[in-house]
Symmetry: C2
Subunit: 351 residues, 2 copies
């Protein structure tokens, strides 16, 4: 430790004199110059106090680490999470500065003044419900500033999981060329296409439906899509014809999020992707860039889960979805509809 | 096809004459003898009709497969799911009979009369919310009858995922021997134990908490457990002493399911298991049979998620939890509190 640096806690900032500049600012990029001295945030000061690089006075009385930590925890909501994340990133050798939404992180080997920040960091408590829009807002800001957005989720034991969140544009290679499918029936909650030849064609060329014997069972979104494109006609169990509107009304009663799922299904199919249920992965869809035929089904690239525009994530649920996608080597993508269908990719980061 | 067998649809059963017995019952174990003839359920008849083993008349008119399938779908709620599962199991070479809750399945090589059924089967639609008690009831019946319970969940594309559900008794090898922990403080939503030696001891001998510097951060359930056992004393940020009751009141406001989590945490710890957060896996806990020390942390055996006794599972969420547990080679266990803490293990089956 070089000569003793003393800071004063005023409000939620710690003011230090001129002698702090060479040691803390110029070498470690702690704090921001203010007047002739240096000003530290609470997390920066706690970090430096724990390493005995500074001492802190409050109203003339010295605060040890415990007293300062307790005071900071009262002064700043979320201080404990931010401290855990700040300390972790600093100890991994990154330069970190406070900034919107919580921190900026410089690339390895980089530092303020030498290189631009690489990440904006949003610190999240495992227990904090997380509205989609509170991710999208910093995702967009980061995108505009050519930064990446890092989510740092702190669990109840203060372990941190890091994610990167970004907007994603989706596109595939599969133009579904399907023509005549024939007549299908909506049964209790799924649709059966009866004609054997049409069933085979639709399954082989577009990877639609699931063959059950010589017939094809279609999911509700598949049926709506094929009906919308005029590939199939549809009747109910008593033989009454159904158009897209009457089918959608029924489908909505079977599946409350049918409209949302159908919008996303249609958008993905229109973007030349092949979309099948993601049930086995706990998501709405699994998505392939291309499927040459039922005998050559490749690995699906994406798991896509639709959420409403006002969706609120629970961090444990988010964590599970991303973890599961990684474990099966797929990318986790959340889809929502605002003016158009938009996609948010969230993936694990190992800083 | 042997000589033509004709069945008559009456109500939701199909009645066949005496000539059906040698062919269908004695060779394939289809249906149940009734009077001098044989009676088939709707799924059995649909299966046999699709294979042109029988013909079906209704009010003197013959029904082709499509007409029969539509009629059956109207007559019996859930017919389509049950048909998909019945057909799948039969085509895998199992003998299947209708029976509570949906089917009985005989072991490979076994059949009715030769060997007892191995599984009771509960057929579930992906879209059907599934109350915990609707699993527990057949789990218990199956357990009493020395059968296993198979859950067959049918997704929107008629793919089936099979699970086995059973009651599980949990026990470990780790008697936590911890004595004096000292004074800890409840901060915003977690607890810090300040004493370096006590922190080290608790972490090394019971794998409690997470070291942050020389201090130990404890989760709410860990703190409550150690407080309850008299290992630590607890104060709030203003230094006021907290007992278990006042701490639990605060913890409940931070974490609405605190009581449930604490009951299960305590039960598992009392059963000599080591319990840590399962956040990274999207569950409440990950559980070890034994942890020799922080340097020798083994693979955790279980993921445990607590649910209330009136919990309603959504099949996609259930699917995701079990899938994730398997992908990290752990067993998925749901814990709930009725008279005591009970555990339900759900694992994938590959019939």
């Amino acid at each position: 430790m070089s000569e003793e640096i003393i800071g004063r806690l005023i409000g939620d900032k710690i003011g230090l004199g001129q002698q702090a500049l060479p040691d803390l600012y110029e070498q470690g990029y702690f704090g921001r110059p203010k007047g002739k001295g240096l000003e530290l945030s609470l997390v920066e000061a706690a970090y430096l106090l724990d390493r005995t690089r500074i001492r802190v006075l409050s109203e003339g009385k010295e605060l040890d680490f415990q007293a300062f930590f307790q005071a900071a925890s009262s002064l700043e909501k979320g201080f404990e999470f931010r401290y855990v994340v700040y300390k972790d990133l600093r100890e991994r050798g990154y330069y970190v500065q406070p900034g919107r939404p919580d921190f900026r992180v410089y690339p390895r080997g980089g530092h303020p003044g030498k290189s631009p920040a690489e990440f904006y960091v949003l610190v999240i408590s495992e227990r904090m419900p997380l509205p989609l829009q509170e991710i999208m807002q910093p995702v967009r800001v980061a995108g505009q500033m050519r930064k990446k957005l890092m989510l740092a989720i702190v669990d109840e034991e203060s372990d941190i999981t890091f994610y990167e969140a970004r907007e994603k544009s989706m596109s595939g290679l599969m133009k579904a060329e399907v023509d005549e499918g024939g007549m299908a029936t909506l049964l209790e909650d799924r649709v059966v296409l009866w004609d054997a030849a049409a069933s085979r064609r639709l399954h082989e060329h577009g990877f639609f439906g699931k063959p059950v014997g010589e017939r094809l069972q279609l999911s509700l979104v598949e049926s709506a899509y094929l009906l919308d494109r005029g590939v199939i006609t549809l009747v109910d169990r008593s033989g009454g014809a159904m158009d897209l509107q009457s089918f959608a009304a029924k489908a909505r009663r079977i599946e409350s999020d049918f409209d949302l799922k159908f919008s996303v299904y249609k958008d993905l199919r229109d973007k030349s992707l092949v979309v099948k249920t993601g049930f086995k992965f706990g998501t709405h869809f699994r998505v392939y860039k291309q499927v040459q035929g039922p005998g050559k089904v490749p690995h699906s690239e994406y798991l896509v889960h639709t959420v409403s525009v006002d969706h609120v994530f629970l961090p444990p649920v988010l964590s599970r979805a991303v973890r599961l996608a990684h474990s099966v080597r797929k990318l986790m993508v959340f889809a929502y509809v605002s003016d158009e269908v938009r996609y948010l990719e969230i993936k694990r980061l190992k800083p």
